[in-house]
């Protein structure tokens, strides 16, 4: 056990897994000497060498496509996409190839790769260094998508992802890298993909969230409790595909009021599926509308500080929604 930042938990886990299994390689732009633009892979090339830590050309389709080919021939690549915003050239390889390989070959082939990428905003990254486009991937059967924000979850889920026999998209909130800490077990504590975590129990309202919005949600929940004793249950999805039906439906059934919060824009976001699932399977237990607080419905997050601030959900906006929901 040690207290670690999100970024250190991810890096340490890669060290552990690369030591444990020489089939694990890391490939991406600037992942070598530079240690990645965020320093997530810092030091890997020194210990494992340029054969296992590969600075690729600036070409995302090749990063994922070559990783897939290498997985076909016995390696277990971890492919880094420098920013989630730049994953688009690799979408064909991820959605049409990686996610469909097991199905199209009826299980004869599979695709054990992990695609790591920093997502999210609030760092003055503007339209193309702030995106939260996870919903493009969470709709894809055959793919698994995780977005842990707590370092211990990142550690446990990255271990599981590297051991998984199917492709996993591993989302790392770049603002959380050096902001979020907790206690992380050493080389241990694998966490199953597909399990949410009840971060805080409550009885009046359920907040379902993930990523940096977990922190805002907890702050808003605290305020609501102090302000008027509202007991808020807060759930961190951690895995975005497959969703944890039991956790989601269980809590919705218990509190009867659900607020979904994410940084990604609202329409067609992960929250839409969560809401639809509840409206279909826990309808009888609902005491109020299923509300969503999400990023502004604009193409992406602007650069200028007041615009960036206006784009992002925060504890005030979440608190206002909690009030409206509690009133039902």
């Amino acid at each position: 056990m040690a207290t670690k930042l999100l970024i250190d938990a991810i890096r340490d886990t890669m060290f552990e897994e690369m030591r444990a299994d020489e089939r694990v390689i890391v490939m991406g732009e600037d992942v070598g000497k530079r240690g990645g633009v965020f320093r997530v892979t810092a030091g890997l090339v020194d210990e494992f060498g340029e054969n296992r830590v590969i600075d690729t050309p600036l070409a995302e389709a090749s990063i994922v496509g070559v990783a897939i080919g290498a997985a076909f021939h016995g390696l277990r690549p971890i492919a880094e996409i420098q920013f989630f915003d730049f994953i688009h050239p690799a979408m064909d390889q991820i959605l049409n190839e990686a996610a469909k390989i097991r199905y199209r070959s009826a299980g004869d082939f599979n695709c054990p790769i992990v695609i790591r990428t920093p997502y999210g905003g609030g760092v003055h990254g503007a339209l193309y260094h702030s995106q939260s486009i996870e919903a493009i991937f969470t709709r894809e059967p055959g793919l698994k998508v995780v977005a842990p924000i707590m370092p211990s979850d990142a550690h446990g889920l990255l271990k599981t992802a590297i051991h998984d026999e199917d492709p996993v998209l591993f989302l790392e909130h770049k603002k959380g890298y050096r902001l979020v800490k907790d206690e992380v077990p050493d080389n241990d504590g694998a966490i199953p993909i597909g399990k949410a975590r009840v971060v805080q129990e409550g009885s009046d309202v359920t907040i379902i969230t993930y990523g940096m919005m977990l922190l805002e949600s907890l702050a808003a929940a605290k305020k609501a409790a102090e302000k008027d004793g509202t007991s808020v249950e807060v759930i961190d999805l951690r895995t975005l595909r497959p969703l944890d039906r039991d956790a989601i439906l269980g809590s919705a059934t218990k509190t009867g009021k659900v607020l979904i919060v994410h940084e990604a824009n609202k329409i067609g976001g992960v929250g839409a599926e969560v809401a639809a699932m509840i409206a279909e399977e826990a309808f009888a237990y609902l005491d109020g509308p299923i509300m969503r607080v999400a990023g502004a419905e604009v193409p992406a997050m602007p650069y200028s500080p007041p615009l960036e601030h206006a784009y992002l959900p925060n504890q005030e906006k979440i608190g206002a929604a909690l009030d409206r929901l509690a009133a039902y």
Binding site: A70, P89, Q93, G142
Partner: protein
């Protein structure tokens, strides 16, 4: 970029056969070609008869495909083919029965259990990598397989194939770039039949030959007459030996003909001059190779008849076998989305 042919007349006597190619090799290559063609023709019959919803052909590509695949070590090397590579799939071990099951979408189809359209050759056991329908994505997989082989210290060679039209995709550029930077044991085969469905080569690229692009990757690029299996074999062997001995990747462009419409859904009369097609049919690689083998004294009328009989028997057997095979059970729909 080099131009290559087996120097026609130059090869009219047996003692001038390229080193390593025995009579038996030539006969085996010829029989693969005949089998690929006859199987393909049967598939069209089944399509026109309404039993097969779709066919996509290798007719006109067989000489190149069989020669290229024959230069690899089956059982060791890895094939990353595209949809026309019936000839390669046969050399690598898929059987007429396998391919007929796939054609009809029947249970037991080893390539996909009836999930993919015909022409998606695949078998982990046979080192044939599963492919999708989007063109050119597979060339990156070929580079990836070669990267793994290199990192694992093997001397395995990967061969990946694409049509000349598919070379327009960004993936083709990215694959050649990656493979050349890392000096990977991969051979990029471009089967250039002059058309991407209806689009002629001059609308696909400004160069006369795809092999001209190899220099931009500091990679050897060779254009070979893909109607000539011996010339193609020579070029392929050179590339395979280079790759296996750490010499890095090669781009091979095999000039071939597409003797059928793009697929059973296509009608090429709207865009293809009849004269051109006639001219190409007149240079069908299979009768040309037969004539050559007979001139060389490698193939006798008797052997020819035996080959035709063997092939016919295999195809009849495969057709019956596939026709009688059951469809997959609807319950299979939900299987293999994720591993256990």
């Amino acid at each position: 970029m080099k131009q290559h042919d087996s120097g026609g007349a130059g090869l009219q006597t047996r003692d001038r056969l390229p080193a390593g190619l025995t009579d038996a090799d030539l006969l085996r290559m010829y029989e693969w070609m005949v089998l690929a063609r006859s199987l393909d023709e049967r598939m069209w019959l089944l399509n026109r008869g309404g039993q097969a919803a779709f066919v996509i052909s290798g007719q006109g590509h067989e000489a190149a495909q069989v020669a290229l695949a024959s230069a690899l070590q089956v059982g060791k090397d890895v094939l990353v083919p595209y949809y026309r590579d019936l000839g390669m799939a046969l050399v690598f071990g898929l059987t007429p029965r396998d391919l007929m099951l796939s054609l009809l979408g029947k249970k037991g189809d080893p390539t996909s259990q009836g999930r993919q359209m015909p022409g998606h050759f695949s078998s982990r056991r046979l080192n044939i990598i599963t492919g999708s329908s989007p063109v050119a994505t597979q060339v990156l997989h070929g580079a990836g397989v070669a990267l793994a082989a290199k990192l694992r210290g093997e001397d395995t060679v990967a061969m990946t194939c694409v049509g000349e039209g598919g070379t327009s995709e960004g993936d083709f550029h990215e694959a050649l770039n990656f493979a050349s930077i890392h000096h990977l044991p991969v051979i990029f085969v471009v089967e250039n039949n002059g058309y991407a469905i209806s689009v002629p080569q001059r609308k696909e690229m400004a160069v006369a030959s795809v092999a001209e692009r190899a220099a931009g990757y500091a990679m050897p690029g060779v254009t070979v007459d893909g109607l000539d299996p011996i010339a193609t074999y020579v070029v392929a062997r050179e590339a395979v030996d280079r790759a296996r001995s750490g010499g890095g990747p090669t781009l091979i462009e095999a000039k071939v003909h597409r003797l059928t419409p793009h697929s059973s859904d296509d009608d090429d009369r709207t865009y293809r001059p009849a004269a051109e097609l006639q001219e190409e049919r007149a240079h069908d690689p299979i009768p040309m190779f037969r004539a050559r083998l007979m001139e060389l004294g490698v193939l006798s009328e008797q052997q020819e008849k035996e080959i035709r009989d063997r092939v016919k028997a295999q195809i009849n057997d495969a057709t019956e076998f596939a026709e009688q095979a059951p469809y997959p059970d609807p319950s299979e729909l939900m299987l293999h989305v994720y591993g256990a």
